[in-house]
Structures are given as C-alpha cells and as structure tokens.
Amino acid sequence: MSAGRILVVDDDPQIRRVMRMTLTGEGYEVEDARSGEESEDKIRAERFDLILLDVNMPGMGGIEACKNIRANSEIPIIMLTVRNTEEDKVAALDAGADDFVTKPFGTPELLARIRAALRRAPLAPESDPQKLAWGDVEVDFGARTVRVRGTPTRLTPKEFDVLRYLVLRPNRAIPHRELLQAIWGPDYGDEVEYLRVFIKQLRRKLEPAPEKPVYILTEPWVGYRFQPPPSL
C-alpha cells in the first residue's frame, strides 16, 4: 500500500525525475506535471494526497496555480522556490499553500515536511464518485471494475483510464490531444489513430450497438464526448 499519492509540479524535468525517484523510494505514488495548467487537469482527473508545487514556472505560475487548486480543493500544498524573501513566503501562504521549502533543500527536510503536511491533513475522501451507472453499464472506479447487463466486463488499464476520463466529464467534447496527454502522457498528442482503436474497443464492450454508439460519441474533428442518458 502506498504512503500517499503526490503530484509534483515543476517545469524542470530533472527536478521531476529526482523527486519521483526519491518519493517513490519512500513508498509514495508519484505523478508529475510540467505546468500549472497540466497540474489542474491532473487534479481534475485523479485524486492526490499532497501537491509539491514550484513557484517559478512558465505560463501559469505556482502562485496562480495554488490559488486555483485551493479554490476547489483542500489538498495540502507545499511550495518549492529558489526565492527566500519574506514577500515570497507571504504570497505563497496567502495563495493557500500549507508549507514552503526553499531550493536547494535536503531530502530529509522535504520528506519531513511532507510527513507533517500529511499528518495535519488526514487522507481526504475521494472527491470523484466511487461508482457510476448508466443504461446497462455499472462502473466502480475504486475497484476498477465494469459490469454490462450485470456481467463483469474486463477493460484493460488504458481502456479503463480513457473511460474514466470521459465519464467524469460528461457532455464535454474532449479534444483528442487532451485525452491523449491525460492518459498516455505529455509526449503524446498526435496519435489520433490510437484513440480511435481504444474508443472502438470501449464501444464494443459497453455500447448496446457499437456501430451506433449512444454513450461515447465522436465529435468530428474535435474528439469524443460522453453523453449519459437523461436520467443520470
């Protein structure tokens, strides 16, 4: 069992790699994001117990990202920065950060601060629904199981992730690129044919008539949309 899920948000790939190695070695599950924008997408899609957020990032900076995250979530946030002035600390704490670590920092100090933040904030209940049902389909996100017409249907991990991403954003046209990057990672984006294959498999497994889908719809030239039945 993992000690907690941590999202590392930093534009520096080396820091992300080091953090991943260090934290994984301590038993944490680690996800990373290159920017504030990407971190927001990840937080919407997955549950985390703590966020390590760099202050200085191109695009949406750490302070702004922290404010946005705090507007919707109580996840503990530890800010990382090279600046050590009083104003920076005040800005970070006022934006909603729980703690503040100045680079360069020692691994034992960072780990201690993570443990302290997790102690103060007991693991939050999952904000996403645990189970969802529509039509003949029942999905248990916690157990990662799917039943269609009462029969267990096996989805591969990637198929499940694609389904989860779509289902948690009902009625929204998800662009190909967004879906690819959310599931396969930031290096993907142009592999639309990949998505077609996975969506075809999902339709085959979940739709009453895969050739005439009613739940997972194609938005031509855009992407895919999950359309739940009106009763949901």
């Binding site: 990637k158 294959v197 075809k200």
Partner: protein, 176 residues
C-alpha cells in the same frame, strides 16, 4: 453474349485464385507474457502488422507491441510475398523457407504474442484487401513524406475499406 460472359467470369475466377497460391501461419512468439487467464479469455483482438520494408516493419512491430500491451491483443505479421508473372506462383524468387526463418526471428524478438502469416501472391494490395476482414486494426510503418509513398497509399486504401490503420512513422535517421 452469354457464352462470352461465362468465359470472362471463369477467367476472372481463375485470375482471382491465382493471386494467392500459398499461405502459412508461423507461431513466432507464444507465451503467457504475464497474462492472466481472464486476459487470455478476453483477448479477441488481433493487430495486423503489414510487412513493407524491414525498417518500416520493425517500427510498426514496435508500435504494435505497445498497442497490444495496452489492449491485451496479439500481433500478426502479414507478409505478402509478390511472385512476378514470369515465375510460377508456387516458385517465388526468394525461397519461402528463407523468408520464414527471417520473419520468425522478427516475431520472436517481440515481447507480446506474435505470429507470422506469409502469402505468395501476384498483387499484395489486392490480397490484403481480400484477406483482412473489415474492420481490422492494421499497423503500417514507413516514412511520411509530403508526397504519397507506397506505405501511405496502402494505409489510405485500407482506411477507405473501413480498417483502423495506425501509421507508425519511421524517423529519417532510423531509415538511413
């Protein structure tokens, strides 16, 4: 007139049959690859990699392996070996046994279940269109240029026939 039509039809049938004289499936790489029984029960899909040229095919196999792992699928390498008209269809210029060992080596290097199907034929495109049941998942590797290449043309034709075609782009350096 009807007699003429009758003869024409028979000739067409003969020609159709002469497109392919030999087909053999070689078990390249069989193993459980960490699959559970549930996975194996559910593993109905097959990814078809089409042999074009060696670098492109290796790239396509690489892509197919990634996809196969994510989809619990198996891979089949389709090798349409064209026999020129002066030769008998059953006597290809390259020995079938030589090709078999070559493609088996390719298949055995993969980390997912992969087998090889070799065809001797006159027209590779026509054979693929005839043999692939629509809609299949097909992976073709090759260089992407601004002009249509043999591989991109084949991909387009198969898409038109309703197949899901993944084009595994070969980087210039890998081809050189």
């Amino acid at each position: 007139m009807s007699a003429y039509l009758g003869v024409g039809y028979k000739e067409m049938q003969d020609e159709r049959q002469s497109r392919m004289a030999y087909s053999r499936v070689l078990q390249g790489n069989v193993g459980d690859f960490g699959h559970t029984h549930e996975d194996l029960d559910d593993r109905r899909i097959e990814l078809h990699v089409i042999f074009t040229q060696v670098p492109g095919t290796l790239r396509a196999l690489e892509e197919a392996t990634t996809l196969a792992k994510d989809l619990n699928a198996r891979v089949r390498l389709l090798v349409p070996q064209v026999v020129p008209y002066p030769l008998d269809l059953k006597s290809p210029p390259v020995l079938v046994e030589f090709n078999e060992s070559r493609f088996l080596a390719m298949a055995r290097a993969q980390s997912v279940e992969t087998d090889v199907q070799i065809y001797l034929c006159r027209d590779a495109e026509a054979l693929l269109i005839e043999k692939l049941s629509s809609p299949s998942i097909v992976i073709i590797g090759g260089l992407r240029r601004w002009w249509p290449t043999r591989e991109t043309r084949l991909a387009r034709k198969l898409r038109q026939k309703g197949h899901h075609v993944v084009f595994a782009e070969l980087r210039e350096a890998a081809h050189a």
